[in-house]
């Protein structure tokens, strides 16, 4: 039996160091650094909003909001090394704002935290309303493995966020805890449960 498939910490460290350098250079007025920073940020923002917030038609708008926030606030980011954490938090907030503004929004607004029950409670999936335009749906179908997308969608939103941040985006447990606003122990608990639920969903797909 082979051991862990965890992302090598040096990979995360290297990405973080590049981001920190770009943040400092962009804050100092380097336009090329700003463009590179925004290009790195846009993929992160799009994936997160698409997978976690679950509104395909909004993903690009959320991405644009996050890029604008990055552009406006780059000189005020206090910890360049923590740029990714700042970005995910910004995207998460943009997702929430977008949903509040959404025309035809469900009467019951589901927060990202809702649906999670730690302790002995059972976690119940909360279905995110789908209003996908056909073009967006086709784009998603081509981009993400269909089985995985369905399995992710079946997770409670708060669990889905942990999986996306930890497994797909490669954040450390501490970074995930900072973005989600929960303890590291809670991140580990949710991650374990989410993995088991994902596995069951994939097996049943």
């Amino acid at each position: 039996m082979t051991k862990s498939t965890n992302l090598h910490p040096s990979t995360r460290d290297a990405a973080g160091a590049i981001n920190a350098t770009l943040v400092r250079e962009a804050a100092g007025g380097d336009r090329d650094a700003m463009e590179r920073l925004l290009m790195r940020a846009q993929e992160v923002a799009y994936r997160f909003s698409l997978l976690v917030c679950g509104h395909p038609q909004d993903a690009e708008d959320v991405m644009q909001d996050a890029l604008l926030q990055t552009y406006r606030h780059v000189s005020r980011i206090k910890e360049p090394e923590a740029f990714r954490t700042w970005l995910y938090t910004t995207v998460q907030n943009a997702c929430r704002m977008k949903r509040r503004r959404h025309v035809g929004e469900p009467s019951h607004l589901t927060s990202i935290e809702e649906g999670a029950t730690d302790g002995d409670g059972k976690a119940r999936p909360v279905e995110v309303e789908g209003h996908a335009r056909p073009a967006d749906q086709l784009l998603m179908d081509a981009w993400l493995n269909d089985r995985l997308r369905r399995a992710l969608k079946a997770l409670p939103p708060s669990y889905r966020m942990i999986v996306v941040l930890r497994e797909m985006e490669g954040l450390s447990t501490r970074e995930v805890a900072n973005v989600a606003g929960i303890s590291e122990a809670n991140v580990k608990t949710r991650l374990h449960r989410a993995r088991v639920m994902l596995r069951q969903a994939l097996e049943g797909a």
């Binding site: 039996m1 862990s4 498939t5 965890n6 992302l7 804050a27 799009y46 552009y71 993995r195 596995r199």
Partner: protein
Amino acid sequence: MSEDISRACGAMLAGISAYLDGDLDATACQAIERHCGDCPRCAALVEGLRETIGLCREAGRTPLPESVRQRAKASIEGPPATEKP
């Protein structure tokens, strides 16, 4: 999970994510691997979770659709003229 899992299976389940994340010491890893050698159900669970994690990480490395990249790039090339970071 069924109710008839053994105590050893229960202990195994409690540590499985830490094992897969490489957070356990060598002794704990060996205990899990020994148990999996004797318990096909737990061995299958470990392999299933490993595959699931791999599938997620592979998806995380999949680049965005080119059309989205192009639209984002176009927006980046034209930030508000009156704004300064």
